[in-house]
Homo-oligomer: 204 residues x 2
Amino acid sequence: MERFYRRDFINTLSGVRNAHLLGTLSYKKVPNLGLFNSVTHIGATPPHLGFIMRPLTVPRQTYHNIKAQGHFTLNQVTLGTYQQAHQASAKYEVDEPEFEAVGLTPYFSETHRAPYVAESPIQIGLELAEEHHIKANGALFIVGKVVEIRLQSHLIADDGHIRMDAAQAVGVAGLDHYYRPEPIAQLPYPRPGQEDKILKPKNN
Amino acid sequence: MERFYRRDFINTLSGVRNAHLLGTLSYKKVPNLGLFNSVTHIGATPPHLGFIMRPLTVPRQTYHNIKAQGHFTLNQVTLGTYQQAHQASAKYEVDEPEFEAVGLTPYFSETHRAPYVAESPIQIGLELAEEHHIKANGALFIVGKVVEIRLQSHLIADDGHIRMDAAQAVGVAGLDHYYRPEPIAQLPYPRPGQEDKILKPKNN
């Protein structure tokens, strides 16, 4: 396969995942942004999230800042901000003010040291907890402990789940294909013996 | 927070991720299914995917089979199969024939030892490559090397990306909220200095 064709093919194989802007603060106190779509739930008690950091074959300011300060934020990308978020993944110079460059606003809460994206409806503050070295290609799996969550209460449904459509969340497959999640169903807790409740599939 | 409310809240925090049925073969040659929504791209060259396995505080047949045989499959869940896939996550007895119970069909290719889901339009065959122990809660981050990909060519766009809408792929947030991805845009490669090309956001 041709190189870019192969890259896009393999990159989209795992599917669409919500896009997040990762906010850090540099040693010189310049807020930095990175775009990630590998954020994964690890556990609810205590709450932890993980994400993939590409191999450190080039300087990666996000990684450098997380290691130096120990704090970072994950901010849900939306229909209103995905174009700025995409632009934030450009290779800016070290300590170039990326927030201003792409037209987003850093916000510091009273209790967290890394910058949030003020425009984001779901803002998560984390502490670096673990990093795992992927032998296959040198990537890192970074684990953060959730220490602060900032979101508007109307985005939380009665059962506790966050309404991704109401948040106008967007996801990305591969490097540049953006999608929005359209709700189709909430299914009941599955138990053996309930098979006859499964509707016959319409499409396969 | 109340226990289930908290669980659903934290589980949906990271957003919607494509749902996959993970196929394995037991020592007694019984095909097994598990439902996962944490499948993550690790690298394209060589192609590797990762996913989170919950802590081994109870017997986990998927993990046992992957360790015993070294092979597994990831099969994209679709609009036509998500109800069966959800049911496949019920706690069936060891070596109960889950494929038959939920109405899905195992398929064995000539070159891979683990069962695919015949009804799935994107079938990925993997070899166990690495496992990383998450200290925070005992979960595992499992890394697999992609050794076989089976999908219809019309699902691949000219640039190589897989058209998740054409595949009728579905994603899930938390444990039970299903979504389908609706395409919104493909954005050009971002470079510094292109900021004036960013359209003004409509929604924030």
